[in-house]
Amino acid sequence: MAKEFDASHLRSARSQGIQVGLAVSLYGISFGALAVALGFSVPQTVVLSLFMFSGASQFAFIGIIASGGVAAAGAAIASAGLLGVRNGLYALRMSPLVGAGFWKRVAAAQLTIDESTAVAIAQTDARAARHGFWTTGLVIYVGWNLATLVGALAGNAIGDVRAWGLDAVAAAAFFALLWPRLSAREPVAVACGAAVVTMLLIPVVPPGIPVLVVAVVAIGVAMYRHRVAPHAPERTEGD
């Protein structure tokens, strides 16, 4: 009886992983097409998905390079890194779940992203969580990279980024990544503040810099908030 119960948990964790994985993977098409349309070569685009493998960081990197050129590379790398900090924190939570074994941990590290972590922590027991994590991570890794390649090859056929509305797609992509995180008053307030600061800075500083200034201000605000209101509810994990 307990065994059947266990099996149904594992099945549901796996099917959740596959569903989430396939939906997110498709999104890789837009990344591939956009990166190439913005001036990255197909190999560069493919390398970003294979090695960086974190949607928000990848979009931030190509977006900032597109608006500021190679001169903005420092800002682009810093922004990609700052957006990647949360993966490190997910890794802390996934670490006991993944268990020992060097290569297993190396593979798990690369697959530690919003979606694999979200599916894992949504499970009720540790074995289902482990299945959810690996299924989601692997499906997205394969799917995202295939989709990136398809998008990148299609992007080669696209000449003018603006005529196809791809600049608006970039903005919408960040909005779609932001939306699930606006689940409480604090993140909404933070997002509004960040938007206003960015608007004020854009006319006066080089491309890529407003994003970094906002990040530094946000770190300060978060540390202050943590001291004055340490027990405020944590945000729900992105889905």
Binding site: R86, G165, F174, F175
Partner: protein, 104 residues
Amino acid sequence: MTLWIAVIGASLVVWALKSAGYVVPQRFVESAGMSRVAAVVTVALLASLVVSQTIHSDSGVGIDARLPALGVAAVLLYYRAPFLVVLVVAGCVAAGLRFFGILP
């Protein structure tokens, strides 16, 4: 070649951050209120990127077809449309407005 260096550098940074979570002792980071900071920074950065990708232009700030496209994306997100639908529709709105010469 320099773009390649940026691509590889950024990839290494993001990869290293993921790996760090599997190496660093758990309580070292969690005690510092880091998860709060990471959540706030992620939201702030994404909001900032939404704005800069929407209004940034070669001459500083410019209002064009991206803004109504973003508005349509917001409505679709509110009604829980899938990611890809949101992106495709946003692109079509901007492309359409430009094709018919309604907005630059």
